[in-house]
Symmetry: C2
Subunit: 157 residues, 2 copies
DNA sequence: TGCCAATCGGATTGAATCGATCCGATTTGA
DNA sequence: TCAAATCGGATCGATTCAATCCGATTGGCA
């Protein structure tokens, strides 16, 4: 139930890119140097995030990448889905419902779908803008992108 | 962002065990036959779930396992944590905060903790009892264990 | 009281996915 | 027209995960 290292790196990179939003384009090398992510990995992430439409890339001399949308319009769910694929806790949730090789009539499937939606909503409630904001005074309740009551009601672990 | 196959199997097994709650003990063989999970895997899961305190095992002839708590008191979060370990989206979330090998002062960490709590709460809102209940008339909002407002406000994808 | 049978528990092997790395194709600027 | 710098895809190694097997323990029965 933990997201992969690539997804973790992608969140850090997007957050770093958001901090330089006004400063024109950045390239994979600069992002790598700023975040400490190995350069080849940063290049791979740039490719995937561009393919997903979260980054816009310009090739050639002086090229680079930049956020295709404002940081407030990019959520953790977008980044995770761009790197890891659809957010589906169970294998049967992303494909059709006909290939559950366990029980032929899986009665727990609808409930799992509900839990799946809840997890996705939790990730969709955190924006890159909220992550890139400086959090020195660590607020108990982080800023939310949309008026979603999901995270606001969660007590710390 | 998908849970492992073992965790998936564990949920199915716990759900099957909940349906036979009154019928004394069950053994790994019976659970395997009912769910279609390979027997060795079922044995492994029984071990882990017992170690986590979700199942109570009795050895010897006529032994077996049974739920240690009512199905309404066991949530998806309990099962997932028993099989996969703590629910921590990022590696730094489960260990101390001192070994983030990327940024020395990780500013996105507090926000990720909030998202992590939200995900865990989403899983803690679904009980085994809700899963074992027959869901032919698939309700839009699944039954919740505690008065948690988390899932109740989530719209389907 | 001794034996037997059935069970859980941990250790081992194989496979698949993931992460890191490298090289080629493309484009812009001089 | 040339050259430099970038993105994009393909390859290789490592780690984790899933499945399998065997031994230790316990309760029932003769």
């Amino acid at each position: 139930m933990k997201l992969s290292s690539l997804a973790d790196y992608a969140v850090v990179m997007m957050s770093a890119a958001a901090r330089h939003c006004g400063a024109a384009r950045m390239n994979a090398t600069t992002l790598s140097a700023e975040t400490g992510i190995p350069l080849p990995t940063a290049q791979k992430l740039v490719s995937r995030l561009s393919a997903a439409g979260l980054l816009e890339s310009s090739r050639g001399t002086g090229g680079g990448v930049r956020l295709s949308r404002p940081p407030a319009a990019i959520t953790l769910a977008d980044v995770v889905e761009a790197v890891e694929g659809p957010i589906a806790m169970t294998a049967c949730a992303e494909t059709g419902s006909h290939d559950c090789n366990l029980e032929p009539d899986c009665r727990i499937r609808p409930h799992m779908d509900a839990a799946n939606s809840a997890v996705r909503a939790a990730l969709a409630g955190v924006t890159i803008a909220a992550l890139s904001r400086d959090a020195v005074r660590a607020p108990a309740v982080p800023q939310l992108a949309v008026p979603s009551p999901v995270i606001g009601t969660i007590a710390p672990l």
